[in-house]
Amino acid sequence: MTEQIEFRIRRQDGPETAPYWQAFRVPWRPGHNVVSALMVLRENPETASGERVQPVAWEFNCMEEVCGACSMMVNGVPRQGCAALIDDLEQPIVLEPLAKFPVVRDLMVDRAAIFGTLQRVKAWIEIDGAWSVHQGAPRISPQEWLENYHYSQCMSCGCCLAACPQYGPGNDFVGPNALAQVRLMNAHPTGRYNRTERLHAIMAEGGLSDCGNAQNCVRVCPKEIPLTTAIGELGREVTLQLARDLFGKS
């Protein structure tokens, strides 16, 4: 008999229905990750006890840990399913929808809140238009580039938010990912022009001061983004901004 991969998956048929658990077995193959095993399972969705059920719904796309789609809780840890190799995981592998987000169906969650928050903190550079102005942006030193590049790899996957004790329903904390984007945009040579607006956005309710410094975010980020460093830097920026606000300077 071939070796089997054992899964326990938290199912939920819709946003309003109660979750339930099902166990599944998938034949082991070298190189399997959580998503590739789920792909095998969906072709013939039968529980471990042989009951025919509806296929498990979940999101995935790039399969290279760069699109952020397949975030889920794998053995209790928020991460990208495609990069979770079966051979590295303890079995039965427990899959749950990404914490903190409303469940759509099974392992599919609604992450619209992430993108709403990016609007709230104005995570973009103001440009006159997407046409050529016959020059680029001002120069950026290689050192500064390297620091910025860590933050620009954030794929809005939501793992840091799932791990953050402060983030969640009933709280409007913007979360570490949005804070890191403020750090990134404020560092850009022309992004700096709108620094004050972004800082004000994170000085408001649900902003920087809601961070409880648990440091979970930085431990789960699949891109190893130094989220807590960004939060520390922003702390200093916000203090300076408070002073500027007090003395009437922008």
Partner: protein, 627 residues
């Protein structure tokens, strides 16, 4: 108020959205998922623009020449010229958006060397250029979204266009992927930016699982023409996977990686236990001059030959070794860190101590929806803002990005894909703005409710029939069969007998796909329903690829039919009589085959005709020659 619909939120779709919204027209942006997850993020290497900052006197002209010759002259030259002309300004615009391009010590954008060219011309952002570019445009679109100028409809699947009595596209029908509700959306103009179709070769493709080509297939089946379908770039070195295959950059060979198989295919030993004399370094043996650094298509064909024709694949499987273990680990780590991380992460073993296992994979579709252009006679490039640029054969329907056919001819130059996606998105956006400005006032008031209702009902009927079908066919199994069939018979190496067979098998698959049994009837977030529909549309598009390959009796770029190969005489160069004989034969062949393949849908299968290519800027005098 004018209404614009853009479908697809990768680089092409976001650029189009940006330019249209900036011109004051409100855009509804449809995407299967959150746009930030689009396949553009997968491009790693970079984006070409002749910035000439490396003391090599690189020029826009040379970029143009490299692109045209790389594509074996099959691309119409005016759009390519404009793309190369505007590349530097486009890169600067990305830089203004805050894209984190890698820097030189003095703080300007760095350039790297890419395959198939002599000059450093590729701007890059670490090893994630596509991701960085997409995020730059995504942020700008979000800025417009916050200002109410863009409305995103994520989790909606495009099903079809709606045409009026004159055949003009007047909107779309789409399906909410949560509620599974089918709805009509009237529009004055529609832009399709739905990417590539690598999934027809699944799992042997580097494309994301959503790059099915279904959207392009749907408008093709509704009358839009599809061009150059047979031209598909296969990347020689993709790491193996049952889900998809992941790209291992050419740099692995460039830095000294060696490709080999055991001389004895039944050899069961782990690769490190196989002594040097029992290994077959076939690229080095067959191509002594270039060895392992042979061009992409040459390397793909060599691997194919060793594995499929000679049966030399490791363990009898589609597998060869890409070996870095003889190199200094520190050097490998320094130069190939990004690749090593991907391989370790997804394969679990370390390429520094164990050879990687790789095989060619479908990487990029040069073909796509046929789109028009208007030439500016003075500049030779595009007439900017012409309503003809990027217009499909359906009035009011535009296409840009990988789902059009415009910029790469028979093969794509490395680092030109991010460029064509961005440039074509912007050009399509500008064309759409002109189109909207030229529309008769009040033309949107024509009552079309019957056409929309009819189309909604037709789409609902398709869903209903799938929901109740008990035909016994499994959509996932059909897709796998499709991928195997395309890989085996319409892949790296082609011959007419195999292609004829392939076409018959595709027809059989099409029939079986009518009897798909979903195995679930849920009316909420039913992924199998959406998938089953896509599988049907993939089978249609696969027929276009196969038909084009059948008809084209020559070798050109990525399309390789050895029976018709014209080989450059070894050791002979321009001026040598043997080379000139070859050149004459090459020109003769061009007279017959230097033409775009244009496919039109019929229920019996695609019908193909050929169309002249505009080669007025760089006439085809010099064969592509990478010696």
């Amino acid at each position: 108020m004018r209404r614009v619909i853009v479908i697809g939120g990768g680089l092409g779709g976001l650029w189009a959205t940006l330019r249209i919204a900036e011109a004051g027209f409100r855009v509804a942006l449809f995407s299967l998922f959150e746009v930030k997850r689009s396949h553009s993020v997968c491009a790693q290497g970079g984006i070409n623009a002749s910035l000439d900052t490396k003391g090599q006197r690189d020029s826009i002209w040379q970029h143009f020449v490299d692109t045209i010759k790389g594509g074996s002259y099959l691309a119409n030259q005016p759009p390519v010229k404009s793309m190369c002309d505007e590349a530097p300004g486009l890169i600067q615009t990305f830089e203004r958006m805050g894209v984190t391009f890698s820097r030189t010590p003095e703080g300007i954008m760095d350039l790297r060397l890419f395959g198939g060219v002599r000059n450093k011309r590729t701007v890059f952002a670490g090893a994630s250029t596509g991701q960085q570019l997409l995020y730059g445009v995504d942020e700008q679109v979000r800025r417009l979204e916050a200002a109410g100028e863009v409305e995103k409809r994520e989790w909606w699947e495009f099903l079809s266009i709606v045409r009026d009595d004159q055949g003009v596209c007047r909107g779309i029908v789409a399906m909410d992927l949560k509620r599974m509700e089918v709805k009509a959306f009237p529009a004055d103009v529609v832009v399709l930016a739905t990417g590539g179709l690598g999934q027809i070769y699944a799992p042997k493709t580097t494309n994301s699982t959503n790059s099915t080509g279904a959207a392009a297939s749907r408008v093709f089946q509704q009358g839009a023409l599809f061009a150059n379908g047979e031209f598909f770039q296969f990347h020689p070195t993709a790491m193996l996977g049952d889900d998809k295959t992941r790209l291992m950059s050419e740099a692995a060979r460039g830095e000294g990686g060696r490709i080999w198989v055991p001389k004895d295919p039944s050899d069961q030993r782990p690769p490190n236990d196989i002594p040097e004399r029992e290994r077959f370094y076939f690229l080095e043996e067959w191509y002594p001059t270039y060895g392992n650094t042979a061009a992409r298509d040459v390397a793909s064909r060599a691997i194919w030959k060793a594995v499929r024709d000679m049966g030399m694949g490791v363990g009898g499987e589609d597998k060869v070794y890409l070996d870095l273990t003889h190199l200094d680990p520190k050097f490998v780590e320094l130069r190939l860190g990004a690749i090593l991380r991907i391989y370790r992460k997804f394969h679990g073993s370390d390429p520094v101590t164990e050879p990687m296992e790789i095989f060619p994979a479908a990487h990029y579709a040069m073909g796509g929806l046929w789109v028009d252009y208007e030439k500016n006679e003075e500049s030779g490039g595009l007439s900017c803002g012409s309503t003809r640029n990027h217009a499909t054969t359906v009035p009011g329907l535009y296409a840009c990005g990988e789902c059009d056919y415009g910029y790469h001819g028979a093969n794509r130059l490395g680092a030109n894909s991010l460029l064509s996606a961005s440039f074509s998105g912007r050009a399509a956006g500008e064309a759409v703005v002109s189109y909207l400005k030229g529309l008769e006032p009040g033309s949107d008031s024509v009552p079309l409710s019957r056409a929309f209702e009819g189309e909604v009902q037709r789409q609902q009927a398709i869903n209903r029939s799938l929901m109740v079908s008990r035909g016994g066919e499994n959509a996932y199994a059909l897709h796998r069969e499709l991928g195997e069939l395309m890989t085996d018979r319409v892949g790296v190496v082609r011959d007419n007998r195999q292609l004829d067979q392939a076409f018959g098998e595709l027809k059989a698959l099409e029939e079986r796909a009518e009897r798909i049994d979903l195995g679930e009837a849920s009316g909420w977030a039913n992924q199998t329903l959406s998938y089953a529909r896509q599988v049907r549309d993939m089978i249609q598009l696969a027929q276009v690829v196969a038909r084009g390959a059948q008809e084209r009796d020559e070798c050109r770029g990525a399309h390789y039919k050895p029976e018709f190969e014209l080989e450059i005489p070894q050791g002979k160069f321009p001026g040598d009589p043997e080379f000139e004989v070859y050149r004459q034969a090459w020109k003769e062949n061009n007279r017959k085959w230097l033409k775009s393949t244009i496919a039109r849908y019929t229920p019996d299968g695609p019908e193909v005709r050929f169309e002249t290519v505009d080669t007025t800027i760089l006439p085809p005098e010099q064969p592509r020659d990478y010696r």
